[in-house]
C-alpha cells in the first residue's frame, strides 16, 4: 500500500472545477439558481429581439390598448409562443438525453438513439404526404393536429417495439439489445421515410423536409398547451429518477446491491424519457443535438451527479434552444435558418470534440 499511496499523496492536488467538493445540496441550489436565471432571462429577452425592434417598456405599457400596441402584439402573439416552445422542447430533449445516457450507460446516447423520433417522423410524414388523399382530419386527436397526433402514434409504436425486443428474454431490460434495436429501427424508419417522400409531390416533399429540420414556429399557444400535459407527466416521473440514475450508471448488479429496484427504475426511465421525446418531437419536429450537447456542457460545469445534472440540464436546455432559435431567426434575417440546422452546426463539432476528448 505504501508505495502507491506515497505516489498518490505526493501527486499534484487535483484540479478543482470539474470535481465538486461542495455538498450536493449546495451544488443543486447553485445550479438551479444559475441555470434558472439564465433560462428566465433568455425567455424574457429573446422575444424582444428580431427583425422588428420592439421595446419592453412599450410591450407592457397598459395605457395603449392591445389592438393598437404593435410591440405587444409582436411580443405576445408572434414571438412569445415560439420562444416558449423553444424553452419547452429544449428542456424536454436535454433532460430526456440525460435519462437515456444514464439508463443506457452510454454518454453518447441521445433522445433519438432508440428510434422514438424516427417513429414519430414516419408518422408525421405519412400524414403530410397522404394528407390530401385520406381524411386525415379524422386523425386529429383531442387538442393535437393530425401531424402531431400521427407523430405521437409513430413514437408510441417505435417505443413499444423497442421495449418488447429488449424485455423479450427476461423481465429486466437489456441495454445492449435496446441500443441495437434502436439503431436498427432508426435506419429502417429512415428508409420508410425516404420511400414516403419519394412517392410524394414537390410541395409535400418540401413540407416533409421542413418538418424534419425542426420548426419551433408552433403558430400560437394552442399547440404548446396540447404538448404541455405530456411534458409535465414526463417531468413528474423524472423527479423520481436521479439517484437511481446514478446507480444504474454503475451497472444493474451494482445498482441492485445498493437497493435500487432495477427493473422498475429502468421501466420508469425508459417510459418517461420516451414520453418526453415524443412530446417534444410532435411539437417541433426532431431537433437534433440538444439532447447530447446540453447534458455534456452541464456535466462539465456541475459534475456528473444526476441529482444536479438532471434539473440543471432541464433549465440549461431551455436557455440553449431559445438562444439557438434566436440565432436561427436573426442571423440571416429576414431569411430564417431552420433551428435544427443551427443546433447541428453547434452540436456536430461538439460531438466530435467529445469523442476525441474521450478517446
Amino acid at each position: 500500500m505504501s508505495v502507491t499511496d506515497g505516489v498518490a499523496r505526493s501527486g499534484p492536488p487535483v484540479a478543482g472545477l470539474a470535481l465538486p467538493r461542495a455538498s450536493v445540496r449546495t451544488r443543486l441550489l447553485t445550479a438551479v439558481g444559475g441555470f434558472g436565471t439564465l433560462a428566465a432571462a433568455a425567455c424574457i429577452l429573446a422575444p424582444l429581439l428580431g427583425t422588428t425592434e420592439i421595446s419592453l417598456a412599450r410591450v407592457f405599457d397598459r395605457s395603449i390598448p392591445f389592438q393598437d400596441n404593435v410591440d405587444a402584439q409582436i411580443f405576445f402573439v408572434a414571438r412569445l409562443p415560439r420562444v416558449l416552445a423553444a424553452a419547452l422542447v429544449g428542456s424536454t430533449l436535454a433532460s430526456a438525453g440525460v435519462v437515456f445516457q444514464a439508463m443506457l450507460r452510454n454518454p453518447l446516447a441521445t433522445p433519438f438513439t432508440l428510434g422514438v423520433s424516427a417513429g414519430a417522423s414516419l408518422g408525421a410524414m405519412l400524414v403530410i404526404v397522404l394528407g390530401g388523399t385520406l381524411a386525415t382530419g379524422a386523425l386529429a386527436f383531442g387538442p393535437f393536429t393530425p401531424v402531431a397526433a400521427a407523430s405521437l402514434a409513430g413514437a408510441a409504436m417505435a417505443a413499444s417495439l423497442v421495449y418488447w425486443l429488449a424485455t423479450r428474454r427476461g423481465y429486466a431490460m437489456s441495454t445492449s439489445v435496446l441500443l441495437l434495436a434502436g439503431v436498427t429501427l432508426n435506419s429502417f424508419f429512415s428508409a420508410l421515410i425516404m420511400f414516403v417522400q419519394y412517392i410524394a409531390d414537390f410541395t409535400q416533399v418540401y413540407r416533409a423536409a421542413r418538418w424534419l429540420m425542426g420548426d419551433l414556429d408552433v403558430g400560437g399557444f394552442g399547440a404548446l398547451g396540447s404538448a404541455l400535459p405530456l411534458v409535465l407527466v414526463a417531468f413528474a416521473l423524472f423527479a423520481r429518477l436521479p439517484s437511481s440514475l446514478n446507480l444504474l450508471s454503475l451497472g444493474d448488479d451494482a445498482a441492485a446491491a445498493r437497493g435500487v429496484d432495477v427493473v422498475r427504475a429502468q421501466r420508469l426511465a425508459f417510459f418517461s424519457a420516451s414520453l418526453a421525446t415524443s412530446a417534444a418531437v410532435s411539437l417541433a419536429g426532431p431537433i437534433g443535438f440538444v439532447g447530447i450537447v446540453v447534458p455534456h456542457l452541464v456535466r462539465l460545469i456541475v459534475g456528473v451527479d444526476h441529482r444536479v445534472v438532471l434539473p440543471a440540464a432541464a433549465l440549461f436546455g431551455a436557455a440553449f434552444l431559445v438562444l439557438c432559435d434566436l440565432v436561427a431567426r436573426t442571423l440571416l434575417a429576414p431569411v430564417e435558418i431552420p433551428v435544427g440546422v443551427v443546433t447541428a452546426m453547434i452540436g456536430g463539432p461538439f460531438f466530435l470534440w467529445l469523442l476525441v476528448r474521450r478517446g
Binding site: M1, V3, V14, G259
Partner: protein, 266 residues
C-alpha cells in the same frame, strides 16, 4: 445475524432447444455472525450466482435465502441493501464520478426517495474512505485510479452501506501481489475490528487459506464440501474440486495453509 441459504436452485434463461441452464442445484449453507467464509470452485461453478442470490439481487427458482430467519424475498431491495453489501469483481461507472461520490452512493438505501445525503452520511463516507486507506483519493476521478485503488474505493462504498454482511466476488482478481495483500489485510481488519460478516468468492486458494475461517466448495452448481478451512482445504479436496494435483501444507512463517499446484490430474 446469520445468513442462510436453504436448498437454493437457480437456472439461467432458456436457450432454444436446450431448456433452462442450471447454475445452482440445491445449495445450502450457513454463514454465522462475524465469520469470514470463503467460496471456492472452478470457473462456471456458480460462485457469482450464489453471491447474487445471497445478496437478494437474484431470486432463487427453488429454496430460499434468509437473513436472521427472514426470507430476503419478503424484504424490499432497499431493506436488504441496508444490511447486505456487495463488492463485485469490477465496477465500471459510465460517468466520471469522484471516489467520494462513488462511496456516497453506498448511502442510497439509507436515504428517502428525495433525500440528499446529510452531514451524518458524509461522516460515514469519510470514515469508510479512512478505513480503506483511500481518504486522500476522495476528490479524484474514480476512472483514473489504479486497480487496487479502485477496488478499495468500491469496498469503501460497500462499507458506507453500514452492512452487517459483505459479499465479495474475487476482490483481488485483477490486482498485483502488493495490492492483493493490502486488500486481504483490509478485509481481515474489517472483519475483526468491526465484526463485519463476510463471504468471499475467490480463485486464490492462498488468499482463502490466510483469510477465511470456513470454506464452501462448489462444483457444477452443488456443494462439494463445507467446513472449517483446515478441515476442507486438503490435497484430496483440491483434486476433486479442480482436477489439479496440489501440495497443501502449513507454512510456518505465514502461519496458514498454502497450496502449491503441482500439475493437472491426468
Amino acid at each position: 445475524m446469520s445468513l442462510t441459504a436453504a436448498g437454493v436452485s437457480y437456472n439461467y434463461g432458456r436457450r432454444a432447444g436446450v431448456g433452462p441452464v442450471p447454475a445452482l442445484a440445491g445449495v445450502s449453507l450457513h454463514v454465522a455472525r462475524g465469520s469470514l467464509a470463503g467460496l471456492l470452485g472452478p470457473n462456471g461453478c456458480g460462485k457469482t450466482t450464489l453471491l447474487k442470490l445471497l445478496a437478494g439481487v437474484l431470486r432463487p427458482a427453488e429454496g430460499q435465502v434468509s437473513l436472521d430467519g427472514q426470507p430476503l424475498q419478503r424484504l424490499s431491495r432497499r431493506a436488504v441493501a441496508r444490511r447486505i453489501a456487495v463488492v463485485p469483481q469490477e465496477t465500471h461507472p459510465a460517468f466520471d464520478y469522484t471516489a467520494l461520490e462513488m462511496v456516497l452512493m453506498g448511502r442510497h438505501p439509507h436515504l428517502g426517495a428525495f433525500a440528499l445525503e446529510g452531514p451524518a452520511d458524509l461522516a460515514i463516507a469519510a470514515e469508510a474512505l479512512e478505513a480503506t486507506g483511500t481518504a486522500h483519493l476522495a476528490h479524484r476521478n474514480y476512472m483514473t485510479l489504479s486497480g487496487g485503488e479502485k477496488q478499495r474505493v468500491v469496498i469503501a462504498s460497500a462499507l458506507a452501506q453500514s452492512p452487517d454482511v459483505l459479499l465479495l466476488d474475487e476482490p483481488t482478481a485483477s490486482l498485483d501481489l502488493g495490492y492483493q495483500l493490502d486488500v486481504a489485510s483490509l478485509l481481515r481488519r474489517l472483519n475483526r475490528d468491526r465484526g463485519v460478516t463476510m463471504v468471499l468468492a475467490t480463485h486464490d486458494l492462498n488468499l482463502a487459506a490466510s483469510l477465511c475461517d470456513s470454506l464452501v466448495l462448489l462444483r457444477e452448481g452443488r456443494v462439494l464440501a463445507d467446513g472449517t478451512t483446515s478441515d476442507v482445504l486438503t490435497a484430496a479436496m483440491v483434486r476433486r474440486l479442480y482436477d489439479v494435483e496440489a501440495d497443501v501444507r502449513l507454512h510456518q512463517e505465514a502461519g496458514h495453509l498454502t497450496v502449491v499446484p503441482v500439475g493437472r490430474r491426468p
